[in-house]
C-alpha cells in the first residue's frame, strides 16, 4: 500500500512517514504542489494525505487537478484551516475526508484505513477487525481463524461496520443497505439483526463489541483487553 503525503512542514511529514511506515504503508513525500502533481501523475497511489496550505499555492488546486485527470484515489485533506467554508470547499473539490491540525495520529490512521476499506479501496476486499476477517468478494467470514456463518443480512451489517470500524454507522445507512439486498420485505427491524449478530459474535469468540448509540446508530469496537 502506497501513500503520498503532501506536506511542506518537513518535521511533520517525517513523523507521518515513520509512523505510517511502521504499520506497513510505503510513504512518499511531496513538499510542494508541483512535486505532488508530478508524483501523482507517475505513480498510482492507494491514497493521499494533502495539506491545504502549500508554499506554491493552494492544495485545493492540486486536488482539483488530480480529480480532473480522472484519478479516483481517496484523498484526505489535512488543514490548519478549520473554517467551515474551507471544509466544504475541500469536500466539494473531491476530497474524501478532512482532518484539522492538530490531530491525533491514531485518528489519522483510523481515517486513512476507513478510506482504504471502502469498496474499491486497497483494503476494501478483505476486511480485518480484531480477530474477525471478512472476505467481501467471497463472502467468507472467519472468527479467530475459524470459518463462521451468518445470514446475508447480518453479514451485510457486519461488513458496513467493519468498513467503518471504530466509527459510527448510522442506522439509516444500515437500513438502506438492507433494503437493497432483495425484494423480499424484511420483517425484522435493525435492532433485531444487531441482537442476533451480537449473540453470534459472542458465541464464536469474536473480540468485537457492537455499541448502540441510541437514536443514532452503532459503533463496532474491539473488546477491551
Amino acid at each position: 500500500m502506497r501513500l503520498l503525503v503532501i506536506e511542506d512542514e518537513d518535521r511533520l511529514s517525517g513523523i507521518l512517514k515513520s509512523k505510517l511506515g511502521a504499520i506497513g504503508f510505503a510513504v512518499d513525500i511531496a513538499a510542494s504542489g508541483a512535486d505532488a502533481s508530478a508524483a501523482l501523475e507517475l505513480i498510482n497511489y492507494d491514497a493521499a494525505i494533502l495539506d491545504l496550505g502549500l508554499p506554491d499555492g493552494d492544495g485545493l488546486a492540486v486536488l482539483g487537478a488530480t480529480r480532473q485527470a480522472g484519478k479516483g484515489l481517496p484523498i484526505l485533506i489535512l488543514t490548519a484551516r478549520d473554517a467551515i467554508e474551507d471544509r466544504v470547499a475541500g469536500l466539494n473539490a473531491g476530497a474524501d475526508d478532512y482532518l484539522t491540525k492538530p490531530f491525533a495520529m491514531a485518528e489519522l490512521i483510523a481515517r486513512i484505513k476507513a478510506l482504504l476499506r471502502r469498496p474499491g479501496g486497497v483494503l476494501g476486499m478483505t476486511l480485518d477487525a480484531g480477530n474477525v476477517r471478512l472476505d467481501t468478494v467471497g463472502r467468507e467470514l472467519t472468527i479467530a481463524g475459524i470459518p463462521a456463518r451468518l445470514s446475508r443480512r447480518e453479514l451485510t451489517i457486519l461488513e458496513q461496520m467493519m468498513r467503518r470500524f471504530g466509527r459510527i454507522v448510522p442506522k439509516a445507512v444500515l437500513e438502506e443497505k438492507l433494503y437493497g439486498i432483495d425484494e423480499e420485505p424484511d420483517s425484522n427491524p435493525i435492532p433485531v439483526h444487531i441482537h442476533h449478530l451480537r449473540r453470534q459474535l459472542g458465541t464464536a469468540g469474536a473480540s468485537l463489541l457492537i455499541h448502540t448509540i441510541r437514536g443514532v446508530g452503532y459503533i463496532l469496537a474491539e473488546t477491551k483487553a
Partner: protein
C-alpha cells in the same frame, strides 16, 4: 468657585432671564430720561411763552415809566399761585419794573441784564417755601423798550413725567413679563429640541460594546456646535475598532500558529512507546490541543459576524454531532443517546455554529458525568435541544457565571480551560436563542437550548 451649572438648558434660560431683566431696567431708565427731557423742553417752552406774555403786558405810564398791566385772567392765575409761578421784570436800566415776590425781585436785581438768547436756570430751596425752581431769563422788546424778563416755575410739579411714565406702564410695559416668559419658553424649547439628536447619540453610545464595536454615533441632525464632538468620538471609535481587530487577529493567528508545533508534538508522542508518564503527557497535550481549538473558535466568533440566516435541521445536526462524539463517550465508559424528535426540526441559524455549541455542551456533559452513566441529547419538535448528564449538577449560585470565559467550577475534576460554555453562549447570543441550566431529576444537570423556529 468651581460651581457651574451643567445643564445647558437651565444655563441658557437663566442667562436669558438675566438679559431680559437688565434690558427691561435699561428701557425703563431710558424712558424716564427721555420723558424728563421732553418734559424739560416743554417746560422751557412754556416759560418762554410766559415771559413773552409778561413783556407784552408792559407799557409806559404817564410818567414815561414802564409798568406791568396784566390782563385779568393772568393776574388771577399769578395771584392764585404766588409761590408757584414767579417772575421779575427789569427795564433797560436795571430797575425792577415788577416782581411777583420780593425775593425774586431782590435776586433779579443782582443779575446782569438778560440776553436776547434765553438762558435757563435752576433755583434750589428758594424763597420762603424753599422750593426748587426752574426758570428762564430773556431780553424781550416791549412797548416800554427792551426788558429783562425772568420767569420761573416751582419744580416738583413733574406731572408730565408722571403721566408719560404712567402711560408707558399701562400701554406698553405690561406686555414685558409675558413676553419675557414666552421668550424663555421658546429658548428652553428650542434648546431641548436641538439637543434631542444628542440624546439619540448617547442612547446609541450606550449600546456600544465589544460585540458591537462597529456601531457609530449618528451624525445626522446633530447641532453644528456638538458635531465636532460626535465626529471626534466616532473617529476615536474607528481607532479603537482597529485596535480590537488587530488584537482579535493576533489571537486567531497565535492559536493558528500553535497548531503545527502541537501537531508535531502530538505525533511525536504517539510514536514513542512508554509508561504511565507518557500517557499523562499525551493527555496534557490533548488538553492543549483542545484549548487551542477553543481559542480559535472564540477568536472566530469574535471577529466574524455569524451568518445565522440559513435553515438548520436540528435533528440532523444532533445526529451528526452525537455520532461523531460517540467514540469519545465509549472511551470514557459512558453512553450517549439521542432522543426526542426523529424527523427534521427546522430552525433558522448557522449549522456549523449550532454543531459547535452542541459539541461543547456534550463535551461538558461527558466531563462531568460518572462512568457508566448516560448523556442524553434530546431534540424537541419546537426547536429545542437539551443535553442532560448525571453528574453532580450545577449549584444555583454558580449558574449566572458558568458562561463566562475561563470560568471553572470549584472542585470539578474536569480540567478544561473554561471556554466551552462561553463559546456556547456566544453562539446562542448570535442566534437570538436562549439557554437555561436546570436540574435533572433525580441527578445531574440539563442545558436547554431554545432556537427561533424557521
Amino acid at each position: 468657585m468651581n460651581y457651574r451649572i451643567k445643564s445647558l438648558q437651565l444655563r441658557l434660560t437663566l442667562e436669558l432671564a438675566a438679559l431680559f431683566f437688565v434690558a427691561s431696567c435699561l428701557a425703563v431708565v431710558g424712558l424716564i430720561y427721555s420723558a424728563s427731557l421732553t418734559a424739560g423742553s416743554l417746560a422751557d417752552r412754556e416759560l418762554g411763552l410766559r415771559a413773552e406774555d409778561l413783556a407784552r403786558s408792559v407799557s409806559l405810564d404817564e410818567n414815561k415809566k414802564p409798568r406791568l398791566d396784566l390782563p385779568s385772567s393772568l393776574k388771577q392765575a399769578y395771584s392764585a399761585a404766588v409761590q408757584q409761578s414767579v417772575f421779575a421784570i427789569r427795564d433797560k436800566d436795571g430797575h425792577i419794573v415788577e416782581a411777583s415776590t420780593p425775593e425774586i425781585g431782590a435776586m433779579a436785581a443782582r443779575w446782569p441784564p438778560a440776553d436776547s438768547e434765553p438762558s435757563y436756570f435752576r433755583l434750589r430751596k428758594f424763597g420762603p417755601s424753599e422750593r426748587d425752581y426752574s426758570g428762564v431769563s430773556i431780553k424781550l422788546d416791549s412797548a416800554a423798550g427792551p426788558l429783562s424778563v425772568l420767569a420761573a416755575e416751582a419744580s416738583g410739579s413733574d406731572q408730565l413725567i408722571h403721566s408719560i411714565l404712567r402711560e408707558f406702564v399701562f400701554d406698553i410695559a405690561w406686555y414685558v413679563p409675558p413676553f419675557v416668559a414666552l421668550a424663555l419658553l421658546v429658548a428652553a424649547f428650542s434648546v431641548r429640541r436641538s439637543l434631542l439628536p444628542i440624546r439619540a447619540a448617547s442612547a446609541q453610545a450606550s449600546a456600544i460594546e465589544p460585540a458591537s464595536i462597529g456601531l457609530r454615533l449618528p451624525e445626522a441632525d446633530v447641532p453644528a456646535e456638538a458635531l465636532p464632538l460626535v465626529v471626534t468620538v466616532n473617529q476615536a471609535l474607528d481607532r479603537l475598532e482597529q485596535g480590537f481587530v488587530i488584537q482579535r487577529r493576533f489571537t486567531a493567528n497565535a492559536a493558528h500558529e500553535l497548531r503545527t508545533p502541537l501537531t508535531i508534538i502530538t505525533a511525536r508522542l504517539d510514536t514513542i512507546e512508554g509508561n504511565g508518564q507518557l500517557l499523562a503527557l499525551r493527555e496534557e497535550v490533548a488538553r492543549m490541543n483542545r484549548l487551542v481549538e477553543q481559542l480559535l473558535c472564540v477568536a472566530r466568533l469574535d471577529s466574524l459576524a455569524l451568518d445565522v440566516s440559513s435553515p438548520v435541521d436540528l435533528h440532523q445536526v444532533a445526529e451528526e454531532v452525537v455520532g461523531s462524539m460517540a467514540h469519545l463517550a465509549l472511551s470514557a465508559s459512558l453512553t450517549i443517546a439521542l432522543t426526542g424528535a426523529h424527523h427534521p426540526v427546522l430552525v433558522t441559524g448557522n449549522t456549523a455554529a449550532i454543531a459547535d455549541a452542541l459539541r461543547n455542551l456534550i463535551e461538558n456533559a461527558l466531563a462531568h458525568t460518572a462512568p457508566g452513566t448516560e448523556v442524553v441529547v434530546e431534540v424537541g419538535p419546537e426547536g429545542t435541544i437539551s443535553v442532560a448528564d448525571s453528574g453532580p449538577g450545577i449549584p444555583a449560585e454558580d449558574r449566572p457565571r458558568i458562561f463566562e470565559r475561563f470560568w471553572r467550577g470549584k472542585g470539578v475534576r474536569a480540567s478544561g480551560a473554561g471556554l466551552g460554555l462561553a463559546i456556547v453562549m456566544e453562539i446562542v447570543r448570535a442566534h437570538g436563542a436562549s439557554i437555561t441550566v436546570n436540574d435533572r431529576i433525580p441527578r445531574g444537570a440539563r442545558f436547554d437550548l431554545r432556537f427561533r423556529s424557521a
